[in-house]
């Protein structure tokens, strides 16, 4: 007897589900391990115990001397926020210009903006180091903000432009004829309509700035150290302090989880809003 189509479909669905589970497991198990380790004592960390008495001691310890994780947390927060606050308005303006005005050398400019994204960070970190040393902004939050801007700006321009392209010209022209100035059109029509894109870009930029490790590692030493670099603090003479590392890891990841939830909502909104024709 031949296998019926229905049975076949069931088998395929089963295989598919198994594969999805496998991929999810590969990604989730390290996070799960860290989530457990963060609540374990130093002794328990190396045992693969699923049931243990959770402790919040690790979260207290990382904020105390000599680790002082709150200083790194503060640096990371300032750097990421200020980067986004500068990048998004600038990128929005640039994206609007690229989208709506025919500029001289527009294509070349746009390609060049994208091209900066293809340069590996390792290649340019040394020039940045030398430049910042001469400018005297090594180990400052300002320096990190500048570097992060150079990374997130092209990305933000590119992303927001896509959303502005999706706004029909008719809508803007209707607003012009209705009596708006160009600025009013941007404020009343373009920004609200591109908001899902702008928010998504902002969150992406925040994540990039927040997670940056390489530049922070090379360009900061003490005062401006950020969270990802701060993880290195937990390498002690008695070996890696995995429980503390895990606790710090949780603190780094937590905002990302929240942002991922928000971004999901806006992504869907951005997809479905579209233009009213």
């Amino acid at each position: 007897m031949a296998v019926s189509n229905k049975q076949k479909q069931k088998v395929y669905a089963g295989i598919r589900d198994a594969l999805v589970l496998l991929v999810a497991a590969v990604m989730m198990i390290p996070i799960f391990w860290i989530a457990m380790a963060a609540f374990k004592t130093h002794v328990d960390v190396y045992q693969l115990k699923l049931f243990f008495t959770p402790t919040f001691k690790n979260f207290e310890t990382v904020f105390q001397s000599p680790y002082d994780l709150h200083e790194k947390l503060f640096n990371s927060t300032i750097v990421a926020f200020v980067t986004v606050l500068i990048a998004i308005p600038l990128a929005t303006m640039a994206a609007y210009s690229f989208s709506r005005f025919r500029l001289k050398g527009e294509r070349i400019m746009f390609v060049m903006i994208l091209a900066t994204q293809f340069v590996p960070a390792v290649v340019i970190v040394l020039p940045f180091f030398l430049m910042f040393r001469d400018l005297g902004i090594l180990d400052t939050r300002l320096g990190l903000i500048i570097v992060n801007l150079s990374i997130v700006m092209p990305f933000a321009v590119w992303m927001i432009k896509g959303f502005i392209d999706g706004i029909p010209m008719d809508t803007e022209e209707a607003a012009l004829v209705d009596g708006s100035t160009r600025w009013q059109v941007i404020r009343n029509i373009v920004l609200p309509m591109a908001a899902p894109g702008i928010i998504t870009a902002a969150i992406f930029c925040f994540i990039i700035a927040w997670n940056d490790f390489l530049f922070a590692l090379i360009l900061t030493t003490n005062k401006a150290v950020t969270l990802p670099v701060g993880l290195a603090l937990f390498k002690a003479e008695e070996g890696d302090l995995w429980n503390l590392l895990a606790a710090a890891g949780i603190i780094i990841m937590l905002p990302m989880f929240v942002l991922a939830l928000i971004i999901q909502k806006h992504f869907v909104q951005g997809m479905t809003m579209g233009a009213v024709r």
């Binding site: 029909p168 008719d170 809508t171 022209e173 607003a175 004829v177 209705d178 708006s180 009343n188 009213v276």
Partner: protein, 352 residues
């Protein structure tokens, strides 16, 4: 209230000519339709009046003011766009009140004005919906209400009916006509649909290749087309354009002879005659005989296409007439609205 005057307007993008040195005088309270195939420059002409496009040269006057350098917002025009151009993030009420908001009309007046505009286009209870919750016809009404919520000198409409289905288009057309009459505003209306042009316009400007081919009331455009382009563009089914020559006042071509078309003896002519002016009769009883190529029953009559030489000619038969393909029929021509065109210049030759 004001008329609109275009003086020697040209719009060029590099080598591409959109509008070629055209002048147009639109009277106060007139309903003028710009009609033509796509790419003929009609929308460009309107957009230059709105201020969305800058003329390469020439002057645009609204009333007694030269508006070339005025921004769209300072021209005191209202416009309805083909895709409506509604603001999707605002409710219908906010959409309609947007012109009031940006022009600083006191808030106390808003409710009355919105209510009046909504009543005029029969929007009724939709004011608190978002545009995406509306049907195409309802969106069209919102766009209209937004355009008429404040008084303006000129009303511009860019193919406002083209996104509606056929039935709705007919009823909305009548409403537009009534609305324009009620508002008594100078109106420029762009369309490629000749029926819209014929039904709505006080005067029609037929455009092609950036040039106004003829500017006249609809009847005149229909009855006395200025040239071959207008003759072929206006009318459905299209006017027969038959190549031939005249001989002592009769038009002759291979297999065709139509007497009393005027003109002396000339060659290289085109005879323009509408299918409704050619009646199918029994063979031998008309001006000439020809074999049937095809017949189409349209309801109120039968459209018969005949072959004469290598040309196809459409004619009308009574609705009970049935003819087989290949059968020979006679054609009787009513020539009072037939026109001769010079084949070289494509212009109509005045009857002598």
């Amino acid at each position: 209230m004001a008329g609109v005057r275009l003086e020697n307007i040209t719009k060029r993008w590099g080598d591409v000519v959109g509008v070629d040195n055209q002048s147009l005088d639109i009277r106060d309270k007139e309903f003028l339709v710009l009609l033509g195939p796509s790419g003929c420059g009609k929308t460009t002409t309107m957009r230059m009046v709105a201020g969305l496009e800058e003329p390469t040269s020439g002057e645009i006057w609204i009333g007694d003011r030269m508006v070339n350098d005025d921004l769209p917002k300072d021209r005191d025009v209202a416009m309805v766009f083909q895709n409506y151009g509604l603001y999707p993030h605002m409710t219908v009420r906010e959409n309609i009140s947007y012109p009031l908001k940006v022009r600083g009309v006191p808030k106390s007046e808003w409710d009355d004005r919105i209510a009046l505009a909504a009543r005029r286009v029969q929007l009724g209870e939709l004011l608190d919906r978002k545009p995406r919750q509306l049907s195409g016809g309802q969106r069209q009404r919102v766009a209209l209400a937004r355009a008429i919520v404040r008084e303006h000198k000129v009303f511009l409409m860019d193919e406002p009916l083209s996104n509606l289905d056929a039935k709705l288009r007919v009823s909305t057309r009548a409403e537009l006509k009534h609305l324009q009459h009620e508002l008594a505003t100078t109106t420029i209306y762009v369309t490629h649909d000749q029926i819209e042009a014929m039904t709505l316009a006080d005067r029609v400007a037929v455009m092609n290749h950036g040039v106004i081919q003829q500017l006249a009331p609809p009847e005149e455009i229909y009855d006395s087309p200025a040239n071959l382009f207008v003759a072929g563009f206006i009318g459905s089914p299209a006017m027969n354009l038959i190549v031939g020559s005249t001989n002592n006042g009769a038009f002759e071509a291979e297999g065709i002879r139509v007497p009393n078309v005027g003109g002396d003896t000339r060659t290289n002519l085109v005879l323009g005659v509408r299918p409704e002016d050619l009646t199918v009769v029994e063979a031998g009883q008309g001006d000439f005989d020809a074999p049937v190529y095809a017949t189409e029953l349209t309801g109120e009559s039968v459209l018969v296409t005949i072959t004469a030489g290598d040309q196809h000619i459409a004619a009308r038969g009574s609705r009970h007439m049935r003819k087989a393909i290949g059968e020979t029929v006679g054609i009787k021509a009513e020539t009072s609205h037939a026109h001769l065109f010079d084949r070289a210049t494509e212009r109509r030759i005045e009857r002598t």
